[in-house]
């Protein structure tokens, strides 16, 4: 870790450069390879970018974006609550696990697209069925990882909690949840992006707006530059969400990496902001992986 300000600044720059070189290279490659393309399926990157920028800064897509991502966050939140609750229950009880795991695996394997008719009849064509589908897609990675995370908590820790008769709600909040957290965050990380894909799927039927609707509609209209623009936008959003979550993850899993920040410095630390987090994480990983 660097101690001086300018040192930290340099570290941030370095980390950003490391993160950026490959995407930049690929974008450049794509740009030149597609520049003279006449195929409707492979529009020049320039045109895709123009459409994307127009769509977002021209405000054309804002309504769709807000609609879709409202559904997305509600769905993700529901998945989180259900995934954690069921995951903790099933993970901490061998009996429940034995009985219910096969059913959960079965439900997990059911194609949501096929349930759409029932969902639409039950929930209509408003945001509800979309939220349902997003939650349905997101819940599984969270649930499975929670189950496995809870099972992986060292027996000695569980035994301690039992010996001190920690009541259930406390045990969940202070022992099981933090203990399983390293694996839970993995589930959430995966759910974040699965949710985005489900967002598209959810707007295939019964929709009149939304980013997914826009992408599907443009595909159907053979406006593939728009389709590309939409999918790239979705990809970038996926990156941004994951990056934001990584910051959060970095913070809550500090103990897991054996990295401590003194209590007194916690607050100032927050103000160092995003860059410091990214840089800190990078430096930490470098340190952890010394041969």
């Amino acid at each position: 870790m660097t101690s001086s300000r300018s040192g930290a600044g340099r570290g941030v720059m370095k980390s950003l450069l490391i993160q950026a070189w490959l995407p930049i290279l690929l974008v450049l490659l794509w740009f030149f390879a597609s520049a003279s393309s006449t195929s409707a399926y492979w529009p020049p990157l320039e045109r895709i970018a123009t459409n994307l920028v127009d769509g977002i800064f021209g405000g054309r897509l804002w309504g769709d974006i807000i609609y879709s991502f409202t559904n997305y966050f509600i769905g993700l939140a529901i998945a989180l609550v259900i995934g954690l609750t069921v995951g903790i229950a099933v993970g901490s009880s061998a009996v429940l696990r034995n009985i219910f795991m096969p059913f959960l695996d079965f439900a997990r394997a059911s194609p949501p697209v096929v349930f759409v008719p029932i969902i639409i009849l039950a929930l209509g064509i408003g945001p509800e069925p979309k939220i349902f589908l997003i939650a349905f897609g997101c819940v599984w990675p969270i649930l499975l990882n929670t189950v496995e995370g809870v099972r992986a908590i060292p027996a000695s820790v569980i035994e301690t909690a039992r010996a001190y008769r920690i009541p259930v709600h406390f045990r969940v909040a202070k022992v099981i949840l933090p203990g399983a957290l390293p694996q839970i965050v993995v589930g959430v990380r995966i759910a974040i992006t699965i949710g985005i894909v489900m967002l598209i799927v959810s707007e295939m039927y019964g929709s009149t707006q939304g980013v997914g609707f826009f992408i599907l509609q443009s595909g159907m209209s053979f406006a593939l530059a728009d389709t590309w623009a939409g999918t790239i936008f979705i990809g970038i959003v996926g990156y941004v969400f994951t990056a934001l979550f990584a910051m959060f993850e970095h913070r809550i899993l500090r103990w897991y990496r054996n990295e401590a920040v003194p209590l007194s410095r916690r607050r100032t630390r927050r103000m160092d902001g995003l860059m410091a987090e990214i840089q800190g994480e990078a430096a930490q990983r470098v340190r952890n992986s010394q041969p």
């Binding site: 059913f103 009849l121 099972r151 390293p182 993995v186 990380r189 990156y239 990056a243």
Partner: protein, 261 residues
């Protein structure tokens, strides 16, 4: 001791049966009360009937084979590529940082929205299905593997370093077992995602398989048949995932240290 184990095992089976019957009961109830009309949710019995006719038809098995082929091919490549890539990027921060955008972008990139482009590239073949499946499963597996290799505890890390264990053994004997719970979860997620995506692609493109049959049954208004294929899909996904679970319990025996309730 033994009798107790048997009792609990039969107990589990009975409990599972009860849950299954309850679920089917709810289904029947929803149909009987016409909560959901029969052309949306057929009665369980009519589905079973339809199942019986399908199960003897070779076309049914061929469809399953087609769906499986795409799913397993994609999953296999997803594992072959995802595990090493995840382990490498999980341990090497420089590579991880370099590929971070690509991976996070790729994970959210909805390949399904670009199916026309994929058809253009690969045609409506098993390969195309496998590619779509691959793009869907590889990233979850990478993420699981990344976090898995970071789960090696500090004490073990130090032990391994002090005994100068060479990298290949560290990977095989330390990182893989330590990451096993993470990897197994990745495989189980991947297994069902693979079947779902394979099926979804078939529904969307009409490529041969359970999905195409299902789409056709829906188009033809034969709802019980559609449910047969729906259940088939569930069973396929469940089967793949169960195989992975079984292997997990077999291979990760040390985990039995676990918290017995």
């Amino acid at each position: 001791m033994l009798s107790r184990a048997v009792r609990t095992r039969t107990g589990v089976v009975v409990a599972r049966l009860i849950v299954a019957l309850l679920a089917i009961g709810c289904w029947q109830l929803a149909v009987s009360t016409t909560l959901l009309p029969a052309n949306v949710l057929p009665a369980p019995f009519s589905v079973v009937e339809s199942f019986a006719t399908q199960i003897i038809s070779p076309d049914y098995w061929k469809a399953i084979g087609d769906t499986f082929a795409g799913a397993l091919l994609g999953l296999a490549f997803g594992i072959i590529v995802g595990v090493p890539v995840g382990m490498l990027t999980g341990r090497r921060p420089l590579i991880e940082l370099s590929t971070r955008f690509l991976f996070d972008f790729g994970r959210a990139f909805p390949a399904i929205a670009l199916i026309p482009v994929l058809i253009l590239l690969l045609g409506r073949t098993t390969d195309m299905k496998a590619v779509v499946v691959f793009t869907a499963v590889v990233f979850p597996i990478i993420v699981q593997a990344q976090h898995g290799v970071r789960s090696v505890t500090a004490s073990i890390e130090e032990t391994v370093r002090s005994f100068r264990i060479p990298p290949h053994l560290v990977v095989l004997k330390v990182m893989l077992p330590s990451a096993a719970p993470f990897l197994a979860t990745g495989f189980r997620l991947g297994a069902t995602i693979a079947v779902l995506v394979s099926l979804g692609t078939e529904v969307l493109t009409g490529a041969a398989g359970v999905g195409a049959e299902l789409g056709e049954a829906q188009q033809g208004g034969d709802t019980p048949l559609a449910y047969v294929f729906l259940l088939t899909a569930c069973i396929l996904g469940f089967a793949v995932s169960a195989v992975v679970s079984f292997a997990q319990d077999r291979l990760i025996r040390w985990q039995t240290e676990g918290n017995e309730d």
